[in-house]
Symmetry: C2
């Protein structure tokens, strides 16, 4: 190895080595993001399963616990999801009895999504979820908070332009 370079192996600066780095899986931010997101969501799976929720459904419930009723479009903006993604997801949550879907009185195009008493009551059980996840990850609240802030910067960078 390193036959084309007079530098030591640990500093191979040939064009081939540079392009290896550029396309190395372990160097890709997108790969780290995808794997970390799937991994963390996987931690929620067994925790949410007793509540009958998937992770995207849990996020919808979080949004509704903050404000209800909300329209599909409003939820989509809060969650950064397409209406086409939310539409069937909300029907499943309605079938579970956690929310109602009905056309807005003021604008018949819009759909008002509102919590049912069961959906509202679920919040009490949800309060135990974040601590369970933090405990399972074994990371400090400082580390997690800082990570969240950096990820928020990435989200803003994506939206920029």
């Amino acid at each position: 190895m390193n036959a084309r370079s007079a530098l030591p192996d640990t500093a191979d600066t040939t064009a081939a080595a540079a392009s290896d780095d550029l396309l190395a899986l372990e160097n890709q931010v997108c790969f780290a993001l995808a794997v970390a997101a799937r991994g963390v969501i996987g931690i929620y799976r067994p925790i949410l399963e007793p509540l009958g929720l998937t992770h995207p459904q849990y996020l919808v419930m979080l949004a509704l616990w903050q404000r209800s009723p909300r329209t599909v479009r409003d939820l989509g903006e809060a969650l950064q999801l397409e209406p086409a993604t939310l539409s069937p997801l909300l029907k499943r949550l309605e079938a579970q009895g956690y929310l109602t879907r009905e056309r807005s009185a003021r604008d018949e195009r819009a759909l008002d999504v509102a919590l049912t008493p069961a959906g509202q009551a679920l919040r009490e059980q949800a309060l135990t979820i974040p601590p369970q996840v933090v405990d399972r990850l074994g990371m400090s609240l400082d580390e997690l908070g800082s990570l969240r802030d950096r990820l928020t910067e990435v989200i803003e960078a994506v939206q920029h332009d």
Copy 2:
């Protein structure tokens, strides 16, 4: 507001406010992770489209450019994906002509996935992708590298236990 507290509004430490924070969408690391991952992958979509690749398919190609042939299980470990996810994905890449799938001679249970000349040649075009993404994000290489390192720590925390 803040009727139960003698503290100023900006430091509402009632139980209700604390539980609001705990379940607030914007405080969840999992939400930031999910949105950031979807957003960054969305940046790749128009860039990869001319190559006929989705983002997960791109990651498979990155893995194969580092080593080929590899088995499905080996790819799954590198990409942290279930074999059941890779199976149809690899068939699509085979249909595109970027790789071949054939049973291993040493172990008929295993499938050897190998790059075709077309798959190997695609690497040249892929070299321009990372710079395009970095440019579109408008973040420094330092920021991105540090983020990747922190995400790698999260991935290790998930695998821990």
